[in-house]
Symmetry: C3
Subunit: 429 residues, 3 copies
């Protein structure tokens, strides 16, 4: 062919259009079946993927900063400390303010509030008898049972080698004279690891403490910024309001007691041994609506740690204040660790995700055809007719020879052969 | 049929091939339309999904560790402290080194630098008059207005019940003798919550502090590791260099002032009340290129908290140093919390995502056919011809009877019966 | 047409079914090719996407809380401190318990253990000569080289303007009398930044410390909760057990040495300069199986920081204890920061993801057809026959005229001629 012909053929490609040939079957049974399957798939695609899942939107995850500010303080009167041994009370008889009960002073995306505490004052590096409660600490002064330099797995220090008489802990009635334990080098006196009030928490009053949570969020992709404090609310309101799920769901000031209650826990109980609570600030924003008025936070509260842990239940840790004199005051702080968790996303209409979901949906529609074809070609009475129409038989030069030897079996007759003839034969009736 | 026949039929399945029958239309209008739609979809798939979005790659999110090290210190000369009441100056007249102004000493993925501070020395548990500025603290000594054990919502402590004369705070001119407030049990003397320098920050010099950021990243899937410190840079360079967006974008040493400036904020302003800044280290790596030379970090800086918060603007917290004598020094620290945020991913060619995107793309191509079919079958002048070609009409035995009673309406005539004839005509050659 | 007809036509739509007409080719070559390609795609979809990737499940990411508790303590005997200058030993000769070597006392999702430390006692705000090792600190008393108020980039304080004789640091042999440096206002005496034991860590014994890791997880979507402590294990077991990859993979108590060893590091080495280690708790749960018995944690350990950093290798920070007297004790703590990282997801059978993956898969199957069509229509010997069968040629009224002038080229004859006739045939009725 001439060059010009090739060229024209090349151009011709742009003026062609291929579309699949369709067999259009009129049949109540098949029609209903196929329409039904299509309806299911379409309603799933449009109803669930596009509308419910907002499949027409592009999403941008939230970026945020959370800062918190605790307020309030508490005081112990002697009658509150009924359970505390008198010689200890001076330790606890004080006003506790934020600086005292928030330890450490600042944490990123979390804050810890002391609810119960064991104070061991005036510890210094010296020697004292090991706590008799520690397994293996009891010794007999007549035998050489305490080996210098050794230490017990759960002990408090290193053996000096001597075996001395055990001392009663703070606020314990003097023990039986006969108890002897190994002397150890450690921070003495040893901590008497028992909560001052047996059945309740020392700082249970912290349930009334309030925390101001400031959460500034941003959706970088859409360059939208806002905070969890509504435009509408003025500062006088903010200083007086308290969060309440029903009446005041957008006030950024929370009572610790409320947080715990909304997580279905009892403050009095968890205050004793401590716990880990999660404050979830959830932003699910639809930027196709107004940002400031419609994109608002939802607060959720959950207890994260296990209420019935087999070992070391609750949440506590030790810290100390060290003094120049080499002494320290040891604190074992039980309390609630509040973890702030900001979740969310913003969606805005975008062609790309819309088409992707549409494409995937159309692909699924082919399932309808597959199902119905099976029904039409193998189940229905007229299946033979439909097969003839759907399939145009072509025998390649290297066709597999299964049919040859059974040409006259009427069962297969229709399906092949003279696939072409069979076309006529039927066409003619 | 014999067993052997069934077997052969089974084998035959592997020697068959089904391909849809295509109606090939030669028409400028349709051709151009379809090619155009196809071009759009293809360019989207190839251009955007495959190439731009690197749809041919499998991605692995970054895992990282960040450690920081601050350097430098500052000193207050008396003329700097012009605004500070003389009797306070001894508190601030000192050299502040890293240990003093980084509180707490270490945080995971963040560090806090004090930029402004209020120091209240020698607080101890005692009684003092409530601050007159607190709403409801004013009382009249002749009436019994202060109820023992009660406390004000925003007060500092618990009422002793007495109504005493208010004291001037540190550095305030003595007040009118007639002011009386309730006496409270609290940490006294009370904090005078006012910044030493009215209009500027005490440690504004911190703008010149430098921080070394070490970020070691890993892509576990591809077992690639590197740090934000380039192979090329030697340690002498590292000790002297300073990050600069243009001239020195890979130096891991940052001036705090630079960080704030690149976030479009003024250090002097935010230093007064504090702020939360985000340092984003972004790694977007293409492992189909060289790892060490091409996979380099990009630093972005943003202010996270709200510049114009309605309540408690900025960022500050209180902490205290406790002394054996039961006294404490209270610090209210304003400062900048720098949050380190490592983002990124590594992509490498992989067949699976490549084919998934390709498949989704091909599915979308069917949209082109749908659009053009509508155009061809309902819009164009020759639509009737095209319909006849595209559709092969088949009437099932249970066909719905709409056509029967109007067999001779030429409109439908073409759509069916003849369709069959058209089959013969072809069959016959 | 009458309204009733329109109505019936409308109803008729629900009783129709469209299915593509298929060309059924019997040919060994083509058949095998297509079946092979289909097999590949199907095995990928079913084998990889559905089964291996659990494509039939909907996944919910894990939410978790981690708390840790360290145990054990250590003691220095004088012979251990062979390397420490005698006049220093009193600083280190003590029992270190948890409160001493875990700094800060609590961190969210991380804990830091001191392994090596430099202590500088009795620092106070005063003047002392700058460290001669600092570049630019050396001065000549006869010249005025130290300018008041200035300071060196890496120096410790601010020049007083005097040039004085340098002092030997703690435990250093007295220096050459002739060394003079600028006097500075700073925390004096300056820290002598050199590790007490040259070649080993002071608290290397911390390798034997144990940490209890409590990890409570939740899959909110499926409302499943559990902790990393197995139901089966009782508290006596928990108090005695130690994690071991082979023998005891579910014990929540870890020896620090074991963690480091499993990360392929040597504790003795990293203890000297510190490091950042990651403890990954991996939960990959299949909720189609039993939750409690089959959904168990896998612990992985990795070193996060770079072992051979060019600058400031390892991990350390400074903190201080401040005393009422204005003095402080400065600590430079080297140690290991253990970062806890909980990963994982729970999958449960769900129709939606199942169908999405299926749909995408079916879309991919069209690739098989495309490949084989190319083979059939352009490669094979009988391609001409197949083309005739696959394509039904239709010439639109606005067809591009490439063919007209070569009507009799047999090459194209087959492709259209008949098509045209078929056109006529219809045209004629």
């Amino acid at each position: 062919m001439s060059y010009i012909t090739w060229l024209r053929k090349g151009i011709a490609v742009f003026f062609e259009y291929d579309t699949p040939r369709i067999v259009h079957i009129e049949s109540k049974k098949v029609g209903v079946t196929s329409r039904f399957v299509q309806a299911c798939i379409l309603s799933y695609i449009i109803g669930y993927v596009i509308v419910y899942q907002r499949g027409y939107q592009q999403f941008d995850p939230v970026e945020s900063a959370v800062t918190t500010k605790l307020k309030a303080y508490t005081n112990f009167t002697d009658d509150e400390m009924a359970g505390v041994p008198p010689e200890w009370r001076y330790l606890y008889r004080r006003v506790w303010d934020v600086t005292d009960y928030v330890v450490p002073a600042t944490q990123n995306n979390a804050f810890f509030v002391i609810t119960n505490i064991i104070i061991t004052p005036n510890q210094n590096q010296s020697t004292c008898p090991e706590d008799p409660k520690i397994a293996g600490s009891i010794c007999d002064p007549r035998q050489n049972q305490c080996h210098e330099g050794e230490s017990l797995p759960l002990g408090h220090g290193v053996n000096t080698g001597r075996c001395v008489q055990a001392q009663p802990s703070h606020g314990e009635e003097p023990q039986d004279k006969e108890v002897f334990t190994c002397e150890i080098l450690a921070w003495c006196p040893l901590e008497f690891d028992q909560q001052p009030l047996k059945d309740r928490a020392l700082l249970a009053a912290s349930a009334n403490f309030t925390v101001l949570i400031k959460n500034q969020i941003e959706f970088p992709l859409y360059e939208k910024r806002r905070s969890n404090i509504l435009e509408s609310s003025n500062s006088t309101y903010l200083q007086s309001c308290l969060y309440d799920q029903e009446t005041d769901p957008f006030c950024p000031v929370f009572k610790l007691g409320t947080i715990v209650r909304l997580a279905n826990e009892t403050y009095e109980d968890i205050a004793i041994n401590g716990a880990v609570m999660s404050i979830i600030i959830h932003w699910d924003c639809n930027l196709d609506h107004d940002f400031m008025s419609r994109c608002v936070p939802i607060y959720k509260f959950r207890r994260l740690d296990s209420a019935d842990a087999k070992i070391a239940p609750g949440y506590n840790f030790r810290f100390a204040e060290y003094y120049k004199t080499g002494k320290r005051t040891l604190f074992k702080a039980y309390g609630i660790l509040f973890v702030l968790d900001v979740q969310g996303r913003a969606g805005k209409f975008s062609f790309i995700p819309f088409f992707i979901n549409l494409g995937a949906g159309l692909a699924l529609l082919s399932i309808a055809t597959i199902i119905c074809d099976i029904f039409v070609l193998y189940v229905m009475r007229d299946r033979q007719i439909y097969r003839d129409k759907k399939y145009l038989m072509v025998k390649g030069s290297d066709a597999f020879s299964v049919y040859r030897e059974m040409d006259n079996s009427e069962d297969d007759d229709g399906q092949q052969g003279p696939a072409i003839e069979s076309e006529n034969s039927r066409a003619n009736d």
